[in-house]
Each structure stands twice: as structure tokens, then as C-alpha cells.
């Protein structure tokens, strides 16, 4: 090549690659995964991240929850009579397919009826997941035979808060299928009243708590986007291929932290690209104090 073309090519090769290119390509790929996938568990969001990210998260989650790694183990909770134990511990592993589904069971809630209802739901959800996994593996084996297809399902549970006032349990669903997805279910019990708490039940009727929370969330997300210099959260249509987050709905996922704060939780891909993970926002209590219903355990 002549010198001139060499220089042009060198310059072309030196085109700076944006740091968020890989994450963006991942997100585009995963959000366009064919919907007919045998892995389409209803209600789960099927946008997925990289296999590397999945592995990292899996390792992290296992290490972060040593108690869940042992089977059928009781998890004593200090200062409370509520216990959570692994009621069903389903583990399967076969040439690339891997499942570890732990079905939790709560014991010791003040309200026995509520405890039974939650346990029934935990069991039903877990069993449905196991049935889905087994059906999916059978379908994939019929399709691919001996070929190794890497798929994995894991569930974890974690006690977010347990004291005299509140019991908050988080069930995590982690699915790896090329990429990975993480979503959560939350159970929040007001131990004083023995009632299951919904987001709305925390506030006096007729208050504009959603507007207040959403204003705060958007403000936090915009600040994070500004700081990062690229669309860390999908707000204000920063990304033409996903809907901008405009605010949470009345029944949005939340939990109460051990410190008694209201924490708004998001699933993976709900408001941000996959590499952001599962964002959580602690709502400053002073922001919502005047709107709270009487006696709710938010401090």
C-alpha cells in the first residue's frame, strides 16, 4: 500500500471505540432474543446480558449468600422468631443444563393465615419453575441432542429485614440462557398488624406519594446519567430503542430495609441496560414522612 493509504487506514483503525459499545450491543441482542424461546416463563422479562456477566453474577450471588449454599438449612434470624428455611431444594445438572431452585418456607409470623398463604405461593411458584425447567430441558434435548446448550436457573431468597416491626423477604430468580436475567418477588409483612404491606398501604389515602417518589427516582437517575456521560438509566428517551422510564406504578416492587427505609427495587432491564444490574433506590424518609399512613414501620 502507498503511504497515503497506510495513513488513512491507521487513522481508521484508531477510531476510538466508545466504552459503552459492548454493553449496548449486548442489550440490543438480548432485547431481540426470539420470543418463541422455550425459556419464556410468563411474567419474566427476557432481556439478557452477556454470559460473562451471568457467570460473574452467579459467582457473586453464591458467595454473598453462604447460608443458601447449604441444603435444607435453617436460617436463624437474630432478634426475631421468624425463620425462613429451604423447604424444597431442587438441584439438577446435566451437560450444560443446570438448575438450583430453592423454595423457601416462612415460619413464625404472627398471622398464621398470612404465613400459610405466602408459603403456598412460594411453593406454587417454585414448583411451576421446576416443571418449566424440566419441560425446557426435554425440549432442548429433543432439538439439539447431545450438543451442549448452556442454560441455568437459580433461585435464592434473602431476608431484607426482620425485626419486631417488619419482615421483608426477597425471592430472586436468576436465569442464564446465553445471557442472564434477574427478577425479584418481595413479601413485606407488617409484624405489628400482621398484614401484608403493599406500596399503597404505606401512605394515607389520597396522597400524591407516587408523584413524590417518581420525582425523586427520576432526579436520581438523571443525575447518574449526567455523571456517567452516557445513558446509565433509560430516562428522557436517551435510547430510541427502549421506552423511557416515566415512573413506578402503584404496585411496584419495594422492601423495607433493616434501618426501616423504603427501598424501591427494579428488575434487571426494567429501567437500565443490563450492565447496571438490578438498581435499588432508598427513598429518604423525610421526603415521604408527611404522607405516610399512621403506624407504618418506615423511619
Amino acid at each position: 500500500m502507498t503511504k497515503g493509504m497506510d495513513q488513512l487506514k491507521a487513522r481508521y483503525d484508531a477510531t476510538p471505540i466508545p466504552s459503552h459499545l459492548a454493553a449496548r450491543v449486548d442489550d440490543l441482542c438480548e432485547s431481540h432474543r426470539p420470543r418463541t424461546s422455550v425459556w419464556s416463563v410468563p411474567g419474566w422479562r427476557w432481556a439478557l446480558a452477556t454470559a460473562a456477566g451471568a457467570l460473574f453474577f452467579l459467582t457473586l450471588a453464591v458467595n454473598a449468600l453462604p447460608a443458601q449454599a447449604s441444603t435444607l438449612s435453617d436460617i436463624p434470624v437474630l432478634g426475631s422468631l421468624v425463620r425462613v428455611l429451604t423447604f424444597v431444594d431442587y438441584a439438577a445438572e446435566e451437560s450444560g443444563y443446570e438448575a438450583h431452585i430453592r423454595i423457601a418456607r416462612i415460619e413464625g409470623l404472627e398471622n398464621q393465615q398470612l404465613e400459610d398463604a405466602i408459603n403456598a405461593e412460594l411453593l406454587a411458584d417454585g414448583q411451576a419453575l421446576i416443571a418449566q425447567y424440566e419441560a425446557d430441558v426435554a425440549a432442548l434435548q429433543a432439538e439439539y441432542g447431545e450438543e451442549t446448550i448452556h442454560r441455568g436457573v437459580e433461585t435464592y431468597y434473602e431476608i431484607m429485614c426482620s425485626n419486631d416491626e417488619v419482615f421483608s423477604l426477597r425471592v430472586e430468580y436468576f436465569v442464564a440462557a446465553g445471557g442472564s436475567n434477574t427478577s425479584y418477588d418481595f413479601y413485606n409483612v407488617n409484624q405489628r398488624t400482621g398484614e401484608l404491606m403493599t406500596l399503597g398501604s404505606l401512605f394515607r389515602p389520597g396522597t400524591d406519594h407516587l408523584e413524590v417518589i417518581n420525582e425523586y427516582l427520576l432526579e436520581q437517575m438523571r443525575a447518574a446519567v449526567d455523571e456517567a456521560g452516557h445513558p446509565l438509566y433509560w430516562v428522557d428517551e436517551t435510547d430510541p430503542y427502549v421506552d423511557a422510564f416515566e415512573g413506578i406504578e402503584a404496585d411496584h416492587d419495594f422492601y423495607v430495609s433493616q434501618e426501616g427505609r423504603l427501598v424501591i427495587a427494579f428488575d434487571k432491564y426494567e429501567v437500565a441496560p443490563g450492565y447496571v444490574g438490578t438498581p435499588e433506590f432508598v427513598i429518604p424518609t423525610e421526603l415521604i414522612e408527611s404522607l405516610l399512613a399512621e403506624g407504618v414501620p418506615i423511619h
Binding site: T2, K3, L8, T15, P18, R24, V25, L28, E143, G178
Partner: protein, 165 residues
């Protein structure tokens, strides 16, 4: 499951080739934001397209989508810079130069490349920067190899570069 298989292959290809595809988009856009826009539009097109029947052409097919998306973008932005014939007249003829001397100073050469009609510039980028074979360039652009060759010669003439096609 044909869909699934094609998707797996395509996603793996896009992840592996993302840097090259970005550079290609950038060569049209000239800035990061527009390059990302072009690339994203192109990837969505690829990811929502009907599965390719002949997967051995996946690479050229993806290039084609990026190039066509970039051309659409250029058309929309009406960013065509018409080639001013007089621009090249100021350059000394080949015979007046010392051997190895650049015909155009580096910046001018870049400018000259950018001001080539897009169909010529694309061929130069794919052939010399992306280092595709002539047949592959022809496949990407859905042109006859001879047409590609002719245009490449023309492009090099316009750039006052003498090199092997």
C-alpha cells in the same frame, strides 16, 4: 428453532465484530453519537430480519445492513458534500512529485476521502480498511465485481493514489 439458531449465530457475530462495525459506521458519521445511532439502527434491522437462508453470508449481510443504514442516514441528513472537481486540480500531477512523497498532505487526503461520492468511498473503506476481498465488497454492495473494480480505480484516481486494486 431455526430462528433460535440463527439468532445465536447472529448475536455471536455482532458481539465479535462490534468494533469493526462501529468503525464502519463512524466512517460515515464522523462522530460518536451519530455512529452509535447508525449502528443501533442497523443492529435492530439485522436482529428483526427474517433468518438468512445461507448463513455463510452472515458477515457480508451484516456489512450490507450497516452500509445501507449509513447511506440512509446520510440521505436523511442531506450531508452529501458535492465533489468540487477543481479541488483536485490544485494537486500536482504524479510526475511532478518525488517518489514516496504524499500527493496530498495527510489532512487533505482524509478530506479528499470524505469528499468522494459515497459509493466510491464505501468501496475504499471496505477494500482497504476492512480488508475485504473484491468479491466480498461486491457481495456487500450487491454489485458486479467488475463494477467494483472500475469504481475502485476511479476512487484511487480521485485520491491521486497509485496502488494495487
Amino acid at each position: 428453532m431455526a430462528n433460535q439458531q440463527f439468532y445465536q449465530r447472529l448475536a455471536a457475530h455482532l458481539r465479535a465484530e462490534q468494533d469493526r462495525l462501529y468503525r464502519l459506521a463512524f466512517s460515515y458519521a464522523g462522530n460518536e453519537q451519530d455512529a452509535m445511532d447508525i449502528l443501533q439502527t442497523a443492529l435492530v434491522k439485522a436482529l428483526t430480519a427474517a433468518p438468512l437462508r445461507e448463513p455463510q453470508y452472515l458477515g457480508t449481510w451484516v456489512y450490507r445492513i450497516v452500509v445501507n443504514t449509513a447511506l440512509d442516514w446520510l440521505r436523511l441528513r442531506k450531508r452529501f458534500v458535492p465533489v468540487d472537481d477543481g479541488y483536485f486540480d490544485a494537486v500536482p500531477a504524479t510526475s511532478e512529485r518525488a517518489p514516496g512523497e504524499d500527493v496530498l498532505p495527510r489532512e487533505d487526503l482524509k478530506q479528499a476521502l470524505d469528499s468522494l461520492p459515497t459509493e466510491y468511498k464505501t468501496i475504499v473503506v471496505l477494500r482497504y480498511f476492512e480488508e475485504l476481498k473484491l468479491q466480498e465488497v461486491a457481495d456487500v454492495l450487491e454489485l458486479n465485481v467488475n463494477t467494483v473494480k472500475t469504481r475502485l480505480y476511479a476512487a484511487l484516481r480521485m485520491l491521486r493514489l497509485e496502488m494495487e486494486v
